[in-house]
């Protein structure tokens, strides 16, 4: 029952995040989605991942969104997409139906019992390359952001400079 409620909550939040016209509201709905996904992860028996998702996904990322939206300013978001609405709906629904047809049957099966090491062993012992690459990724992300934000001085200012940001 709790699962079902969470599922409905997640989907409602996600749809609202997309539908909402104001960016800041959109970001808040996204935070809601993230928090409910964290709850679902907890219910699925992954409390560690859940708590990280809650703090990073619902916390940090939301802060970033609010920060970025503050910097860029609210903008009317009702620009029409390049693809006609009906076509987009048809394609998305088609994807959903096909995925459902492929994935839902046969998912309800008993898990084979494979003896496997604890999470920390899997994470630190068996996936070392991934960890290294993650570190590189984080490093690249930091560098990228530094680069992006540091060009502030050199960026051309004739296009609507932002007041009070510097």
């Amino acid at each position: 029952m709790l699962h079902l409620l969470t599922a409905v909550g997640i989907l409602v939040c996600a749809i609202q995040a997309i539908r909402s016209r104001r960016l800041i509201v959109s970001a808040l709905w996204l935070a809601g989605t993230s928090a409910l996904v964290a709850l679902e992860l907890y219910l699925l028996g992954a409390p560690e991942i859940g708590v990280i998702e809650l703090s990073v996904g619902a916390g940090l990322v939301t802060v970033l969104f609010v920060f970025a939206i503050n910097l860029t300013g609210e903008e009317a978001t009702d620009l029409r997409g390049l693809i006609k609405e009906p076509l987009a709906v048809v394609v998305s629904v088609l994807t959903i139906v096909l995925l459902g047809l492929l994935l839902v049957p046969g998912i309800d099966r008993a898990a084979p019992s494979v003896g496997e090491p604890a999470l920390k062993v899997v994470l630190w012992g068996n996936r070392q390359l991934d960890l290294i690459l993650q570190a590189v990724l984080v490093f690249c992300g930091v560098l990228g952001v530094l680069g992006l934000l540091s060009e502030r001085e050199s960026a051309p200012t004739e296009h609507n400079p932002l007041e009070g940001v510097e």
Binding site: H3, L64, R109, L137, G141
Partner: protein, 103 residues
């Protein structure tokens, strides 16, 4: 069809993916695009944990989900930083305005 836990989770996954896809097809605001990507990544995360559960390799699935969280955060950070810069240089968050960057 009984609504067992895996069924519910897979429905969440498909629903989130569909929402994200629809958004990517229709949205033109850069920050909204980042929102859509976030939604799709949540789907991937849940799918990984579920797949681990179904295969009896819960910890592998969870550790992969952890990697996804990291990657996803970096994507959000860089995407938003890009959006800020685009707004500053091009003067708009509209994706179509970005085609001016093309030669």
């Amino acid at each position: 069809m009984t609504l067992s836990v895996p069924n519910i989770v897979i429905l969440i996954v498909i629903g989130l993916l569909g929402t994200g896809i629809y958004a990517l097809l229709t949205v033109r605001n850069l920050i909204k695009v980042v929102v859509a990507l976030q939604i799709m990544v949540k789907a991937a995360m849940l799918a990984l944990v579920l797949a681990g559960r179904l295969q009896g390799q819960e910890n592998l699935g969870q550790s992969l989900a952890l990697t996804v969280i990291v990657a996803d955060t970096i994507v959000a950070v860089v995407g938003l930083a890009l959006a800020v810069q685009v707004r500053r240089v091009v003067g708009s968050l509209d994706l179509n305005a970005l085609t001016t960057l093309r030669r």
